[in-house]
């Protein structure tokens, strides 16, 4: 960090700042009110961002501590004030005490949730929902044109594209894509680096193609968008 400041490396400083701001935003529950967001999507996942996230979580704990103390002070202060003004108000101020206690309970509840969030916060944007992913897989969409121009052109058995894995000649790619997306035994994960979409992988247990080095591979990987649109499909290890 010192080096980043000394060398005017604002990119690192910005990523760190975004990490701090994002974690505080999440820990204090602002996502529930204002929605899931980040100050800069490009910073997410960088080392300074993750360091900033950690710093933000620590700052959130300090903030939560202040909330605990503040909430306690509020309860004590309100109780004391209502008690000493009781003779003047004819005891009416004592009726305010439950409200003051309720406010304190609210502050402490929020502080507690901040503590939990600070300990459980991870630098990811959206939790992965497997059921949602499998539903998107079942409703997959793929145009014939895209299938030919992208998947067959790059990964078909007759493709001349360098550095790409290729399906075996007899392998029915369209059928394979369908099987991979609807088979409950296929593994499903979120798309890489928090990009929207899902990755399905099915192991056929026998060679279905070759990798970029010409070695036999048995798995089919299909990437779809969150709306089920097929982005790509290719054979892998």
């Amino acid at each position: 960090m010192t080096e980043a400041i000394a060398t005017n490396n604002w990119e690192i400083i910005k990523q760190l700042g975004v990490g701090i701001a994002d974690s505080i935003y999440q820990n204090f529950g602002l996502e529930a009110i204002m929605g899931e967001r980040t100050l800069d999507l490009e910073a997410v996942g960088t080392v300074p961002y993750n360091v900033g996230n950690l710093a933000g979580n620590l700052a959130s704990l300090v903030g939560a501590g202040a909330e605990f103390i503040g909430g306690g002070m509020w309860a004590l202060g309100s109780g004391f004030a209502s008690a000493i003004t009781a003779p003047i108000s004819g005891g009416a101020s004592l009726a305010l005490e439950p409200a003051a206690v309720a406010v304190t309970a609210g502050i402490w509840t929020h502080a507690g949730s901040v503590v939990v969030n600070a300990f459980t916060n991870r630098p990811s944007r959206k939790p992965f929902n497997e059921q949602e992913a499998r539903e998107a897989g079942k409703k997959y969409k793929m145009s014939d044109e895209y299938f030919e121009k992208h998947i067959v052109k790059n990964h078909g058995s007759k493709s001349t594209k360098t550095g790409k894995s290729k399906f075996s000649e007899g392998f029915d790619i369209k059928k394979g894509i369908k099987e991979t997306l609807i088979d409950q035994k296929s593994t499903v994960t979120k798309n890489t680096n928090n990009r929207p979409g899902y990755i399905f992988t099915k192991d056929y247990g026998y060679p279905i193609g070759v990798n970029e080095f010409g070695q036999s591979v048995t798995k089919l990987k299909v990437v779809i968008g969150e709306n089920g649109v097929v982005i790509t499909a290719f054979p892998i290890y």
Binding site: E42, G45, V47, G163, T192, R195, I231, T232
Partner: protein
């Protein structure tokens, strides 16, 4: 997740017939899965979408070069000869782009 790399002045002006290198699928996946264990910045690699085409400016190429060098020399990562040679070709191509002030088109799977 293997990514093809070509030199170019812009996304529209790519030299598909010239130099080519392939960022190995195995290494890309391994780095992605173990990013939190690696003691160097892997974001220049992870920010590239491996499933679509991305054009990197010379400045972005410089950052990817640093990450690639770290991966190549990392004591944590071990590769077979095919992957190692493939990654070395990537480094040569990135250096060429920097020397000539060019960008690199990264063609996803």
């Amino acid at each position: 997740m293997s990514m093809g790399l070509y030199l170019g002045r812009s996304k529209e002006k790519v030299d598909y017939d010239g130099d080519f290198a392939s960022f190995p699928q195995d290494i890309n996946e391994y780095v992605f899965d173990n990013q939190h264990l690696l003691p160097f910045d892997v974001s220049p690699l992870l920010q590239i979408d491996p499933f679509s085409d991305t054009f990197l400016t010379t400045e972005q190429v410089k950052k990817l070069k640093v990450t690639t060098e770290h991966i190549l020399h990392s004591p944590v990562l071990r590769f077979d000869e095919l992957n190692y040679n493939s990654l070395k070709k990537v480094l040569i191509l990135l250096n060429k782009a920097i020397e000539k002030g060019l960008g690199v088109l990264v063609e996803g799977d």
